[in-house]
C-alpha cells in the first residue's frame, strides 16, 4: 500500500533481463500489478529461469513500482524514467517505462471502480400505480409510485460483489420533495463544475 520504490526493488527488477522476450516482460509487469499469487511466482520463476524466492521478490518490486506510478499519476516518460537509478540497464528501463505508460490508464480506471464506497446504485426501475380503493375508502383515484433500487456493494466481505435491492413506495408529495432535493443537488453540481 505504501507507495515507495527502493534500491533493492531496482536490483530485483534487473532480473527481468533474463526474460526470453519483451512480451514475457510485459506479461510479468501486468500480472504483478494485481498482486502476489503462488501461481504468478511459479510461472515467473519458470519463464525467467530463476528461483521462486527471486521470482517472489521480483513480483513484489514490480508491484511497488506500478503502484508508485499509479499513486502519483506519473503520465509522461520523463517522470517515470526519473525514478530509476543512473546505473539501471538502459534498454530495460525504457521497456518497463513503456509498459507502465501503456497500462496506467487501465489501472487508474480499475482503481477508481474498485475504491471503497457505500453500496453503489447500479439500477433503477419504477412504476406508477393508480390506487382505486382501500379498506377504509371504497372509491378513490390516487397515484402512487414504486421505485426499485438495485445496489452493488464493491467491498463486501463475501469476496464477490453482493447485490441488494430495496423497493420503496412514494406518494406524489414524496416524489416532489425528492425532485426538489435532486434539483438542488444538480444546481450545486453545476456551480462546482463551472469553477
Amino acid at each position: 500500500m505504501a507507495a515507495t520504490v527502493c534500491n533493492e526493488d531496482f536490483t530485483n527488477l534487473q532480473l527481468l533481463l533474463k526474460a526470453p522476450s519483451k512480451d514475457a516482460v510485459r506479461e510479468v509487469c501486468v500480472q504483478s500489478q494485481r498482486g502476489l499469487s503462488r501461481r504468478l511466482t511459479e510461472s515467473t520463476a519458470a519463464t525467467l529461469g530463476i528461483s521462486e524466492a527471486q521470482a517472489a521478490q521480483l513480483v513484489q518490486s514490480l508491484h511497488a513500482l506500478s503502484h508508485y506510478v499509479l499513486f502519483y499519476n506519473l503520465s509522461s516518460p520523463e517522470q517515470i524514467l526519473a525514478i530509476f537509478p543512473e546505473s539501471f540497464h538502459s534498454s530495460l528501463k525504457n521497456l518497463i517505462t513503456k509498459i507502465l505508460l501503456e497500462n496506467s490508464a487501465t489501472w487508474r480506471t480499475e482503481a477508481l471502480s474498485n475504491q471503497i464506497s457505500l453500496p453503489q446504485l447500479k439500477d433503477l426501475d419504477w412504476r406508477v400505480d393508480m390506487v382505486t380503493s382501500s379498506d377504509s375508502v371504497s372509491r378513490m383515484s390516487v397515484p402512487t409510485c414504486l421505485v426499485q433500487l438495485k445496489m452493488v456493494d464493491p467491498c463486501s466481505s463475501a469476496g464477490s460483489e453482493s447485490v441488494s435491492s430495496v423497493t420503496v413506495e412514494l406518494s406524489r408529495e414524496s416524489l416532489d420533495t425528492i425532485l426538489d432535493g435532486l434539483g438542488r443537488i444538480r444546481d450545486q453540481l453545476s456551480v462546482v463544475a463551472g469553477k
Binding site: 453503489q120 446504485l121 377504509s136 433500487l149 430495496v166 420503496v168 420533495t177 450545486q188
Partner: protein, 193 residues
C-alpha cells in the same frame, strides 16, 4: 328508512340515539362533534375518546354509559360515509332521515376526514425521508490526487412499525440517470391528475 351510509337495518336504539342528540344545546353538540372527530382522525386513541366522553357526561350531568352508546351510534354515520364515498349532500339527507339536524361543523370535519382516510391508505415500504450529501473524493490509497464527485443518499423506509435506513452512493452519471427517471415518474403521475 332509506339511508345512504349503510344498507343494514339499524336497530331502533340507533334512531332513538340520534333523536336524543337534539336534546343537546348548541355548545354541547359542538363539543361532542369535536370529540367525535378527534377520535375519527386518530382511531388508535380509543381510551382517550372514552375518557373525554366520561368527562363530558360528568360536566353536563349525564350518565356516561348512555352517552357512550349514543356516540357509538353516531360514529356509524361518518364511518359508513367514508367507506361509501358519500357527498356532503348525501350525509345531510341521512342525518335528516335520522331525525337530527346536520351540523356545518360536522360536515367540515368530515371533509378533512376523507382527506385523511385517503392519506392513511396502506403504503408498502413507504419512503419517509431522504438525506443526502455530495462531495469530491480528493484521493485514495491507490491514487494520490483525484477530483471525482460522489453523491451519498440515505433513504429512510418505513417497514411496519419501525424504519430502516438504506445507504447508497452514486457517481455523477448515476445521479443524472436517477434524476431523469424520477422526472419521468413524476410526469407519469401527472398524467393521472
Amino acid at each position: 328508512m332509506q339511508l345512504h351510509f349503510t344498507k343494514d337495518v339499524l336497530p331502533d336504539s340507533v334512531g332513538t340515539d340520534f333523536q336524543n342528540l337534539n336534546k343537546l344545546n348548541e355548545q354541547q353538540f359542538h363539543r361532542l362533534i369535536e370529540i367525535l372527530f378527534q377520535f375519527l382522525l386518530e382511531p388508535k386513541e380509543a381510551e382517550r375518546f372514552m375518557q373525554q366522553l366520561t368527562e363530558f357526561a360528568g360536566e353536563h350531568g349525564m350518565s356516561a354509559g348512555p352517552l357512550r352508546n349514543l356516540m357509538k351510534s353516531v360514529l356509524l354515520v361518518p364511518q359508513g360515509a367514508l367507506k361509501k364515498n358519500l357527498t356532503g349532500e348525501q350525509i345531510k339527507e341521512d342525518l335528516l332521515t335520522l331525525g337530527t339536524h346536520p351540523s356545518p361543523l360536522g360536515l367540515r370535519h368530515y371533509a378533512a376526514l376523507t382527506r385523511l382516510a385517503v392519506g392513511q391508505t396502506l403504503m408498502v415500504n413507504q419512503l419517509v425521508d431522504m438525506e443526502w450529501k455530495f462531495g469530491v473524493t480528493v484521493g485514495t490509497s491507490e491514487i494520490q490526487k483525484l477530483g471525482t464527485v460522489f453523491l451519498q443518499l440515505k433513504l429512510v423506509v418505513r417497514k411496519g412499525n419501525s424504519t430502516e435506513n438504506v445507504y447508497m452512493e452514486l457517481t455523477l452519471p448515476q445521479f443524472y440517470n436517477f434524476l431523469h427517471e424520477m422526472e419521468r415518474a413524476k410526469a407519469s403521475m401527472e398524467c393521472f391528475s
